[in-house]
Symmetry: C2
Subunit: 210 residues, 2 copies
């Protein structure tokens, strides 16, 4: 989302300082929702963590649903935006391996808590908030396209044959990442994430060497 | 869990009729938690759906946390128990394909809502209820072992070489299933689940034909 389109809860455009305060609130809410879940996070928790007043928080967000959607947009920008950068420069099996290693290392550092900042939000809102579910669905679709760009580059470089379905490969890669992150979160162990991402790399290797 | 070990919230063993009432409460709670999530489900919702009184529900469950753990045990028995049966008789690539097709068909029938009855519980409780998280982790480990049994049977029949790591294959299969179910739930579309499970089958085929 362009920062120019950001508004207060009564529809006014934000000043530069207003954007900073809003950003602090959203970052605090995102961290809390990753730590204790969407339902466990109250507006009061967010207010305290962001160090703002109640009137300030309601100046930017009319209710918690609006804040949840701002957190989804924030994770879309952060997580999917980062992957767009990464996969724009990824065009080899080695690059794919390094990406997998980086994800496993990052989860290990965080004690495997929280799961995927976007996927875990999706699981929590899917049956209770259709608008939030649709926003996560759009972010996942953007994520698929980002990953596909890396597979397309590999195909263009001749790593894969032209007949390889890079779109399906990208969807399966994202699914393997989501499932691996969920299992790592629940089992508090990077092993399932490692096995899941190794399967992605292994299949790419088998496709490349046929 | 053996039904003999079931108790009231004050520790008394259950009669046959008591076990039936308890089962009705747990089934109602499981359906509600799949429909509207763990946090959205109240003890009053469960009472009304099960058609029991408040004193009856608290006769079996001292609080919601205890009910959540009973639902996890119920899904463990239902979902993982079913998979133990299925994979005890699965020893071929055709069997693996049929299993995948069955899962996709089942999700299509349900409009892709709810996600995995066990994995979605895991995502919801992982950061808020350590005992519930550990119970889901144990169920996932049991599920891995069930799937592995099918891959072991394939290896024993010569579908795979002896060097194939069936344990990792099983973990990656479960992760692909979990990630595919989560994406299908969020995107309300079986396509990501299909792509994720096709990747599992495809990798098994590539391993088998090397």
């Amino acid at each position: 989302m362009s920062t120019d389109s950001l508004r207060t809860s009564t529809g006014r455009p934000l000043t530069s300082r207003g954007r900073q305060t809003r950003e602090r609130i959203v970052t605090a809410a995102a961290a809390l929702m990753l730590d204790i879940g969407v339902s466990g996070t109250t507006m009061e928790d967010v207010r305290d963590r962001a160090g703002v007043s109640s009137s300030q928080i309601y100046h930017y967000f009319s209710d918690k649903d609006e804040l949840v959607r701002a957190v989804i947009a924030h994770q879309d920008e952060t997580i999917v935006g980062t992957h767009e950068e990464v996969f724009a420069h990824l065009d080899s099996l080695d690059g794919l391996r390094r990406w997998c290693d980086g994800i496993v290392d990052y989860q290990r550092l965080g004690g495997c808590s929280g799961g995927c900042p976007l996927g875990s939000l999706g699981a929590q809102v899917a049956e209770t908030d259709p608008d939030a579910r649709a926003a996560v669905a759009r972010a996942l679709a953007r994520w698929e396209r980002a990953i596909r760009r890396g597979y397309d580059a590999m195909r263009d470089r001749g790593v894969f044959e032209d007949s390889v379905d890079t779109a399906s490969l990208a969807v399966a890669t994202l699914a393997a990442l989501q499932g691996g992150l969920l299992m790592a979160q629940v089992q508090r162990d990077t092993a399932p994430l490692r096995a899941s991402l190794d399967a992605v790399v292994h299949r790419a290797e088998l496709l490349a060497t046929r």
